[in-house]
Symmetry: C2
Subunit: 416 residues, 2 copies
Amino acid sequence: MTQLLRSWVESANAAETDFPLNNLPYGSFVTPQTSRRCGVAIGSQILDVSALEQVGLLDLPQDNVFAEGTWNRFMALGPQHWAEFRAFLTDALGDGSPRQGDLQKHLVPMARAAMEMPFTVTEYTDFYAGRHHAFNVGSLFRDPANALPPNWLHMPIGYNGRASSVVVSGTDVIRPNGQLKSPDMDAPVFGPSKRFDMELEMGAIVGTPSDGPITVQQADDMIFGYVLLNDWSARDIQAWEYAPLGPFQAKATATTISPWIVTKAALEPFRTSTPPREKELLPYLREPGPMLFDIELEVGLAPEGKPETILSRTNYSEMYYSAAQQLAHHASSGCPMRVGDLLGSGTISGPEKQNRGSLLELSWGGREPLTLNSGETRTFLEDGDTLTLRGAARGDGFRIGFGACRGKILPARDLP
Amino acid sequence: MTQLLRSWVESANAAETDFPLNNLPYGSFVTPQTSRRCGVAIGSQILDVSALEQVGLLDLPQDNVFAEGTWNRFMALGPQHWAEFRAFLTDALGDGSPRQGDLQKHLVPMARAAMEMPFTVTEYTDFYAGRHHAFNVGSLFRDPANALPPNWLHMPIGYNGRASSVVVSGTDVIRPNGQLKSPDMDAPVFGPSKRFDMELEMGAIVGTPSDGPITVQQADDMIFGYVLLNDWSARDIQAWEYAPLGPFQAKATATTISPWIVTKAALEPFRTSTPPREKELLPYLREPGPMLFDIELEVGLAPEGKPETILSRTNYSEMYYSAAQQLAHHASSGCPMRVGDLLGSGTISGPEKQNRGSLLELSWGGREPLTLNSGETRTFLEDGDTLTLRGAARGDGFRIGFGACRGKILPARDLP
């Protein structure tokens, strides 16, 4: 299925839409007239599946799957129902479908809708599994010869993040206050982060629960879909707080995700392998097949009232560990995984400077300011800056897009 | 209220019950005849408040507060309703109450009930805020002169734990598998943890949400109650995985809590201050009054089929940071806090060897095995061991107890 599938929704057949019939990503939206609904993106339209359920046009094994306007209950139905529902949508939205008349009245123009969180995040885990990012950060804070921590090539290093801080694209991000102490200071001060940064990541969403160790294949089967993810990070808060228990308040302000869950099913044609192993992995982490995806990614920065500059372009296939490997590692201690768990990939930097996925790397720790198209320079984010992540897998004449993952930086709160 | 309040439930007036009328802790239980219910402990009995709600004996602002058998909806009603409900219970269960006839038929003997998780854990955070524990661990892994990390006296160091792994007392704990690598090994192996440990902690439960920074006083007001908490820890998995992002699979197997939420209201007579500051705290972390509690704690270990040995006795007042300070720090970046969030205090060791709250400290990294009453020795936990935490605040002729916090170690799962 690497050819465009044609839909009777004309805008879905345009070459540069994020949402052709091949995609069919899942989101949550409101309009001035309607409460929160589950919707499927198709071209410039959203198919209101909460309405379809209400009027009895869906064949689902339970009532009220879409009544709350989030996708958690649907995920909990399991992989067979995921496949059947996708087959129904592909058929019903396809060119010449006899269902066009029924469905057309439940299309909502995207321009009239505001997007909400597509699912309730149960728990959020973030990884550090990009080889180039880990090398860059290790080179910055240690030295290039000892850039990778000793464990790094043996396991996907991760930490538990804060689910309450995950927000949908379009939500403003207030610059955090926190404890700051540079090495030349005797004691910390409390104030606004001066090194507030973004991290270009992908997020994987767990759709099937587990209660014990799982294989990498089982982990891949459990993943429902993917989103773009910006792991906002206060580098100065992190530098002072992180030893010995890891990042905490540095990563708790916000994590922004794109509004559409692109299903694993839509990404199947774009599977690709992780890079060659530099050290052999333990058996529980070995992949039985390709479990990454070829997804082009970019990040743009627009200062307040100014045009955007693309800061970086990279690809999800740069990851050293796939989400399936991360999930298998996550469950290896017996940690129960649940429907709605979100796994951040870690920053996805590529091999060259123009492929770096964070300002920490792009400005090399603040020592090499970037010049924007507007002539301004940046080391870290300034108030009023808008960051936008974009991503797409490219087929023959179509793209599987994620929609924008955007956030604007507001000034820090007054101190108490 | 440091005198015993007398109840018409006679067992609640016994000197050594955990559950006099002064306590009234909240739990969740099932019996062979009934589904999951909310209950209040009184002497050897449980008052079935889900049943009281059903028959219309409670005056609550919403329907179905106790219908699910967890205390989250009640917590969400807010502090005024917490106080009103406690006043109702204190009156209705008091000696000579005219409500005795109505309530008596809704008492369930504890011996007939099995306890469930008293609340749904929204997110779980664990701290490292005991001065003696941090000194001991720092002395073991570094040296006594540099035992405390530089940030330790300036902030309560914490990390996000895994809410899905929190279980109620009585749940068996399966020894985790994980990556193990001692310094003399070339590469890690995957297998059962050989240094599986307990940590004696208290847990604080957030009952009121916040969405932005809060003061320490506001944080104290937000706390609904406290439980005993055992943060099971695989020291060998942690040693290899923790740099640079902190503990992950080492702490994801299980965290056990006691079955009864002892309310902050019940603990009010036992408030005490944190120890003197060794360095002045930043204003956002300063306490306006005493926010710790004088709670005696102990941990016992019983090998399979053998009597128990008390390993350690300590007191919650040994903490350097209170739960209110931890919560204020947690929210300082703008991190949203929610009803049902659980905050582990960190290991509560006292100044002497017999006050240490983990086997890591008690056996000094495994180098000084403990001898049990049975004649066996222990460095870390063995399969079949049952660990029990107990705790109580002591008034004049009564105690505010938590019930046991117990878990038995089962052998690791077979490797895949």
